[in-house]
Structure formats: C-alpha cells, structure tokens
Subunit: 427 residues, 2 copies
C-alpha cells in the first residue's frame, strides 16, 4: 500500500467555511467507501470507535450462512463452508493490516481473554522476573485481567502503573520487568503511545511486551513486526466493523510461537482436536491459542468488513483520519469554546488516534441531547464526550454538521431538559 | 411441566413394521414441533447431538438484528435491544430447563472456558484438598482444561481418572478430593451418569462437583437443584439448537455465588463495567462470571430456540427420546447385526441419553456413505458411528428410513467405494 496523500491539508489557523468542507469531500479519495456501509441517512455516526458500522454485504452473507449453511448443510458446514478454520483463515487476512505475517494472528474469544492468554504465556517466559508494567489510563478491563492474573496465579509478582507519558512508563522498566502491557491508542483521550520506542525499551531490559490494539487496527497503519512487538491483542467491533461482540484477535510473533503456551487448554487448541485423545498436545501453530468452539455468525460479519479493508490504502486512511479530527477540533474551538468544552486529545496529529475527546461538566447531558439530535458519540466517566472519526464512512460534511448541531444544543441550552439526565446502562 | 406419557411404548421384542412406526408418529404429541425447524426435505438428520437444527424463526430475527439493530441503532442496540443483558436474560429463560433458579445460570464464552472458570473457583473453595476426580471417558476438552489448570496453576494437585462406572468414580472420592467433574451423558456411548448419587458422594466427602451437561440439556429433564449440584457447564449448539458456536452456559448454585470467584476478570464481570474504574470489583450476581464482550448474533439464534423449548413438556420429550433410541436399536439388531454393527449404548432407557452409538471396524466409511445417502450421523474415533435422536424434529419414520438406508449400504457394500475413505477435518 502506498501512502501518497491525495487529501487537502487544512490550514492550521484558517477560518473554516462550509465551502472548504465541501471541497475536502470532493477531493477525498475514500469518499466512495461510505457506500459500502449501511447507515441511517439522517444520522451522523461518530461512535465507530466503540461499535463500527455494518458493511452492506453482511445481511445477505449471514442469510446464506443460515440458509445454505446451518439449515441445509448443518454439521457439514464446519468443513464445507470452511467455518472450522475461520479463526485462522480470517486472521491471515487481518494480519497485513497490523503488519503481521500469516500464521501470527488468530481471531478468537474476547480481548480480555486474549490478554489473559498472552499475559500468562509471557509471564511464564520470564518466570524469574517479578514486575508487570502498565499505566493508570489503560483500558480498565486490561488492568482487571492483570490484577486477576497476579492475585490468583502469580501472587509473587507485582503490577507497577505509570502515568500516560511514554517517558514515565519507560522509566519503570528495568531488569526486574517481566512484561510491559499497554493500550496503543488511549480509549479516553485518543493519544497514541510510541510503540517502537516502548517496545525497544522493554527489549533493552529483557522484558516482553503486549500491546492492546483495540483502538488502533483499522484506524491507522500498524506495523507490529517492524516494531518487533512480542504479543498483541484487540477487538474487531470498533474500527474493524465486525459487529456487536465480534471475535477478538491475538498476535504472537513467530519467534515466540514455539515457546509461548496457552494455559486455557481447550480442545480447539489441540494439535488434533478431532482425534479425541484425552492427552493434551498443543497445536504447533497459532491455533494453540484457540480454546472452545468459535461463534460463527460473528466471524462472518467481520469477513465482509475485511473485504472492504483489503481495498484500502492505509496512507489515505490515516491522512483522512488526521484531517477529520483536525477539522473537528478547529470547528469546536471556533464555535463551542465559550461553553467550557475542553479538548483533551493531542493536537499533534502524529500522536492522535482517530477520535477527539472533550471534557465538560455536563458531558452526559450534552451527549444525550446530541444523540437525540442524530449525532451519535459517547460518554466516558467522569466527564468525557468521545467522538470517533472513521475515515471509511465519515465525511467532512458530517463533521461540519455535527459541530453545527452541538453548537445549537449549547446555544439554546436544551441539554438542560430533564430527559437528558437519565443514565443508561451501556454508553 | 408434567411428565405424563402420551407416547406408545414399543414392545421390547416385537418385530417392528412400518405400520407400527407410522402409528407412533400419528400418536406423537411432539410431532408438530418439527414444523418449527428448517431442515432439507430429503435429509434424515441424526446429528443434532453435535449441531442442532435451525429454528425457522432465526433468519428473520437475525435480519432484524442486523437491520434494525446493528445498522440502524448501532451502539444504542446494546441498551435499546437488551443485547448487553442477553448473557443473563437468556440464561434466566434457560434455567428452568436444567432445574436451576433465575440468577444461577449465565450464557457466556465456550464450555471449555466455563469449565476453567468453575474449576478454578471450586479449587480455591477447597484449597486444602489435593485431588480432582474425573473419568477417562470424559470429553477430551474437559480433561485438557483440567490438565491445563493443574499443570499451570495448581502443580501441587493431582487428577485421578476412573473408568466410566459410577461405582468406580465414587470409589475414588475421599477426604482429599477437592472437586469431582464429569460429563453427565457420555459423548461416545450416550450413557447417563447418576447425577444425584455421585453428587451426594462428593458432598459426603466434603468435595464440590461440576457437571458438564453438553449432551443433556435440551435432551432430557435435568434438575440441578434437586440434586444439589454445585456447578455445571455445557454448550448450547447441540440439543439446544443455538447454531455453530452458540454461547455456552455455566451454573453456580446460589449458595456458592458469594464465595466462588471468577479468575478471568474481564470488565463485563465488574460490578459496574461502565464506571471504568481500574479497580476490579466483581459483580455480586452470576454476572461475575462474565469476562469480555458477548458475540450477539449467536445469542439471538439461541433465543429463537428457547422460544420453542418453553412450550415443551419434558416428560413427553424424554419419553419420545427413549422410544426413538429404542426403535433404532431394535431395527439395527433386526436388520444389520450380520455386518458386525455392535451397539455400545445402554439398553436400559433410564441410563441412555438421546443418542445411539455403534461400533464397526469400517465405521468411517459406512458413515460417509450414509451421509452421501442423506442420513447424517457422525463418526468418533476410533470406530464409532453416532446417531442423535432429537425428539423435537426427528420422527419415528426417520428412524425406520435411516435403518433401511444403512441396511442397503451394508447389503450392497457400496461403503467400500474409494471416495468414502477420505478423512475430513471436522466430523
């Protein structure tokens, strides 16, 4: 994939007009990709960082799976439709998007379970070392998994948490460090960690690293092998558009494939699961990190998303992502700064993921009003509004209109209406 | 549910005629249930013990999930369509089928992962004891999970394996036993273990028990609380008709809910997952055994199957299951005994699950020929043909015709054709 830039850059301090925005859409080499997704016509969807949009080809593909697969071929679908192999055949298609080789990626289970698997594997590979390094701003589930692993299975080891700066994290890494595990793009702020630098710091100290790429893969170019990453995990229902609870992935660098062991030793990780031998013999391939039977329908939705990603120039994707987020930030500042909306996402496009987060003491209510006015972002405790910008189906005009609606909500103060105060379960 | 018997019994030693078989179908109170499933018209499907048939209502329900849910409501589907809660709302509907109360069952992950979770929880509740008891004929994945748990996390504990007799298993249970874990209905032979007796033996010795109900729930009445079972796990893609890789379940008796802890501590098991606190505080409910984000499409297919099960009299279901399996065995003996087909499933209907297994040195080839002739059972190494009899969509005439086709394959010897010798991946 080339990374030539066909996008217009946005002048840093210029006043943005709707005409400039329309011109950006006209010149956008990715503009036609939006046709491949099914979204409500009147909705501005800025939450693809939480749950990606549905590729239009999913319903007919799933229907075929139900009618030709499940209800016609039944048990034979495992073979005849290649379903038994989806955890690695689809992963082999996903691998290039993260700079991995075929055979290094597996699509299975959830991100949390894959972190458990890779963390325990890595700890066993550095059994003589005592510390795990992470940071306080890591996604809570990642911290929970680390805590659970330590409390229950490695009580002699310790978790040390840095702040969110690369330097502070690196300063904690030393000869006692077994594993460093971080999320690459911060779920709250959208800040990108320096994968290459931190990975090198871990290796310089003899430690292993696990990156959580949940907010990275599908949103920006990732090159795990160039950075010599040891392990990685992540989910496929955000920028990868796999649908609600689509299978997560894990990456194991080829050089660790022999030594690393999966401790969740279910039959699907067996070298010969259908030999039904009661003695566990792990597969020699990445399939050793399988455990139980895969939930097929969710794989099929993800497959249709990969059809799209395989046609995408990730240089173009990244440039558009940077432009969309920059445009949003400039428009917010121009139009909403009187209302205490504070941007917490990095201004430097090189360390900014594909989202913009802002704080406000009334973020919950403002976000609910936005959603009711057809701009869907999300809320993260205690006071953050997140807006995700997915280059495949978000236009520059979407950004313009979203800010106009936000501005109106703030100008009129309608977010103060009582109905916007009710808290819901999942946000 | 009453267990009144509206079925005809089959005379034990009478010669069965096609007329008797037709009469059985005419009098079958469950005969109309088959209309609720979509199966190829010319197929005799005797593999519902491996992968259940699709309820006809699944495709439109999944289509609604894709069109109204994913592509229209997007992230909001987690709340608006109740998807975030499916692991326990659907489980509450499943609970009565296994004699559990609401709040004791959770639908998540795979059977193997759920066995890991419950086994580790149980071992921590009996930390001063050293042995796990299982049997050599347990499903291999269950044994693999036990071995993995012991090798990796409890190296001071030991696995002791009995043979398949209840008495032999009970004889291994003593004051050193921490946990007994067995599969209730044997996947190879269809033999039913005495749940009440073995559970009592475990408790009499101060041990805990975990039952794997993968070949039980949906096939026969189960009463976990009557038997005072501690934990149970199982899959929903066999007799429960949830589709390929549908979510598995776990059961935790209410009395253990506070003490038992999930060591796979992902965010969905947190008391307040969307509070995003980095300190793990487990849910006080069965949800503590959640880990990552659930794969929604597979839950929805299962939901449609539960719609059907909630209308079923399990006494009728069990009686028909016993009749179908008895009919098959009698017809096999009358028509196929010259060919070295040996029944390994118990004759006593009280200890027979909803399958019949036979051995033959050419089981692989004969099963492939059967499948090509539209009778789908499956093969289990080294020499077993399995035939599952699912009372909801299998008729007595199906059984009659299946045996006629088997008889013809044996009489003509066409199973010797070379094409039937090729081994496939999943069987």
């Amino acid at each position: 994939m080339s990374s030539k830039n066909n996008n217009l850059d946005i002048p840093e301090n210029a006043k943005i007009s709707q005409e400039i925005v329309k011109l950006l859409d006209e010149k956008d080499p990715l503009a036609t990709q939006a046709d491949k997704f099914k979204l409500p016509k009147d909705l501005i969807y800025l939450d693809g960082n939480s749950l990606g949009a549905m590729p239009k080809s999913v319903p007919s593909y799933v229907e075929d799976a139900l009618l030709d697969g499940w209800s016609t071929q039944l048990i034979r679908s495992w073979n005849n439709k290649g379903w038994h192999n989806l955890p690695f055949t689809l992963a082999d298609r996903l691998a290039p998007i993260m700079g991995a080789k075929k055979g290094e990626v597996l699509l299975v289970d959830s991100t949390s379970l894959n972190l458990f698997k890779t963390l325990v594997a890595a700890l066993k590979m550095r059994a003589d070392r005592v510390n795990i390094i992470s940071d306080k701003t890591n996604f809570p589930s990642d911290i929970h998994i680390i805590q659970g692993v330590l409390d229950n299975f490695f009580p002699d080891k310790k978790l040390k948490l840095s702040g969110s700066s690369d330097e502070e994290t690196i300063s904690l890494i030393d000869s006692k460090t077994a594993v460093v595990t971080l999320t690459h793009v911060d779920y709250k702020t959208g800040k990108i960690r320096d994968m290459q630098k931190i990975t090198k710091a871990a290796h310089d100290n003899g430690a292993l690293i696990i990156w959580d790429l949940s907010h990275s893969v599908g949103a920006l170019p990732i090159d795990l092998n160039h950075c010599e990453v040891d392990f990685a995990v992540g989910c496929s229902y955000k920028y990868l558009n796999g649908g609600h609870g689509a299978p997560a992935y894990l990456f194991v660098a080829q050089r660790h494939l022999e030594e690393s062991q999966n401790t969740l030793t279910g039959w699907m990780g067996h070298a010969s699961p259908f030999g039904f031998d009661i003695n566990y013999e792990p597969s020699k391939t990445i399939e050793k990190f399988r455990c139980g039977t895969p939930a097929i329908l969710s794989y099929l939705a993800l497959e249709k998303s990969l059809d799209i990603f395989e046609t995408i120039d990730f240089g173009q994707l990244r440039k558009k992502s940077q432009n969309l987020t920059q445009l949003f930030m400039q428009l917010i500042e121009e139009n909403c700064s009187d209302y205490g909306i504070k941007i917490i996402t990095p201004r430097d496009p090189e360390i900014r993921g594909s989202q913009v987060s802002v704080t406000n003491e009334n973020s919950w209510e403002i976000m609910q009003a936005l959603i009711e006015h057809n701009v869907v972002g999300d809320f993260r405790a205690p006071n953050i509004m997140r807006f995700g910008f997915t280059p495949l189906y978000t236009s520059y005009e979407n950004v313009w209109n979203a800010v106009k609606i936000l501005q109106k909500i703030l100008d009129t103060g309608i977010w103060k209406e009582e109905k916007y105060a009710t808290r819901k379960l999942v946000t």
